[in-house]
């Protein structure tokens, strides 16, 4: 597999949300708008990229038995960095994402890539894998957030294009499940084409 394929697999072919069904809690929880989805996606991308890099560098020093706890500590450190940075520079986004920022630490996508990819591959492949998977995740969250924002509030990235309110149900909890269900169907169709 060349590095370009390694990078691009996260978008459609092995998209973490639409085909692997990983990291579903933040996917459903924060995507009330395209901007929130993008913010969460990029925060996760940073954690995924950095944890993949560090895991691939230190993998030979970590005894096999304490592998998982060590990965969790590495991931939790980067999550704390994101948490404090976002609180300082993007306080409004931090308030919107709320609980889901510390919960990046239990995002199965991050630990899954550390265990399945970074602990077996070299530094460069792991970094590219982390970046690709992270951006694929961000893409999925932005898409879902965009769909919910368009239908739910009649705007995209905060720019309103219809008068009045949209279909409120899309911004509320049920809309998240239903929109994601139909998006999965759509992506499956695209993968076959």
């Amino acid at each position: 597999m060349n590095q370009l394929q390694n990078f691009s697999k996260g978008f459609i072919k092995e998209n973490p949300v639409f085909t692997l069904f990983l990291g579903l809690c933040p996917t459903l929880g924060v995507t009330t708008s395209a901007f929130n989805g993008l913010g969460m996606g990029l925060a996760t991308t940073f954690v995924l990229l950095m944890s993949n890099i560090v895991v691939s560098l230190v993998k030979s020093f970590i005894p096999d038995k304490v592998r998982i706890p060590s990965f969790i500590v590495i991931i939790a450190s980067f999550v704390t960095i994101v948490e404090l940075t976002m609180q300082a520079y993007l306080p409004s986004l931090f308030d919107q994402l709320g609980l889901f920022i510390p919960l990046i630490v239990v995002n199965c996508l991050v630990l899954g890539r550390a265990e399945a990819f970074a602990s077996k591959n070299n530094f460069l492949s792991s970094a590219i894998d982390g970046l690709g998977m992270g951006l694929g995740f961000a893409f999925a969250l932005t898409l879902l957030g965009g769909v919910r924002e368009v239908f739910g509030s009649g705007s995209i990235f905060g720019f309103k294009f219809i008068e009045g309110d949209g279909m409120l149900i899309f911004v509320l909890a049920p809309g998240a499940f239903i929109a994601l269900g139909y998006l999965i169907v759509l992506i499956k169709k695209l993968q076959k084409a």
């Binding site: 069904f21 990983l22 579903l24 809690c25 933040p26 459903l28 929880g29 998982i68 706890p69 969790i72 500590v73 939790a76 450190s77 999550v79 704390t80 948490e83 404090l84 609980l99 510390p102 919960l103 630490v105 239990v106 995002n107 199965c108 630990l111 149900i169 509320l172 909890a173 049920p174 809309g175 998240a176 499940f177 239903i178 994601l180 269900g181 139909y182 999965i184 169907v185 499956k188 169709k189």
Partner: protein, 193 residues
């Protein structure tokens, strides 16, 4: 009365799965059979209550006095991960039948964001003492179980239903979850915020 409000709020109004999007992975993953859902609920209740008690004590007697609350994410996830291991070892020794029933679900719980989520929510709530936190944890675990078991029941009958081909599997599960979330929205306003 306070406790009753906490319980009703966590079970129906702010259901942890259907309104707060925590613990979606096991919700979609292990909800094929009612039997496994009951097992999962048992394991989650067990770990969630113990984890909330331990993290509550750590937050109030270690992190806050030492002024290192920014270590919250790292500390909590380590506590939960080691707790899950500990519970597994103790159960194996003390109660083999219970271990048989819950054993396979225990490793999955470390990355169940509902456990970490409830632990963080419990220390964030204003005026929550230890007893409030315990009730809060039990109520949320039961809320998780309620959503999981109801959903598993629906999915068991869904296997026999004539679902359009592109929607088969995960997509229809999400749409059903959306309808279930919509039903739970009917409880909104039962408990004053």
């Amino acid at each position: 009365m306070e406790y009753v409000l906490i319980i009703i709020s966590a079970l129906f109004v702010n259901n942890i799965v259907l309104a707060q999007f925590l613990g979606i992975c096991p919700f979609i993953g292990v909800s094929n059979k009612v039997g496994t859902s009951v097992g999962m609920t048992g394991a989650v209740t067990f770990v969630m209550v113990i984890a909330t008690i331990v993290t509550y004590l750590i937050q109030n007697y270690v992190l806050v006095p030492l002024n290192i609350t920014y270590m919250q994410t790292i500390t909590f996830i380590l506590v939960i991960a080691s707790l899950v291991q500990l519970v597994e070892i103790i159960l194996k020794k003390v109660s083999p039948p219970l271990y048989q029933a819950l054993g396979i679900f225990l490793p999955l719980i470390t990355t169940n964001c509902a456990v970490l989520g409830v632990a963080i929510l419990a220390v964030q709530k204003d005026g929550f003492g230890l007893s409030h936190s315990v009730v809060f944890a039990i109520a949320n675990a039961l809320g998780f179980g309620l959503a999981l078991i109801v959903f598993a029941g629906i999915r068991e009958s869904l296997d026999l239903a004539d679902v359009p081909k592109p929607l088969k599997g995960v997509p229809i599960a999400f749409i059903v979850a959306g309808l279930l979330a919509m039903a739970f929205m009917g409880f909104a306003g039962v408990v004053p915020n």
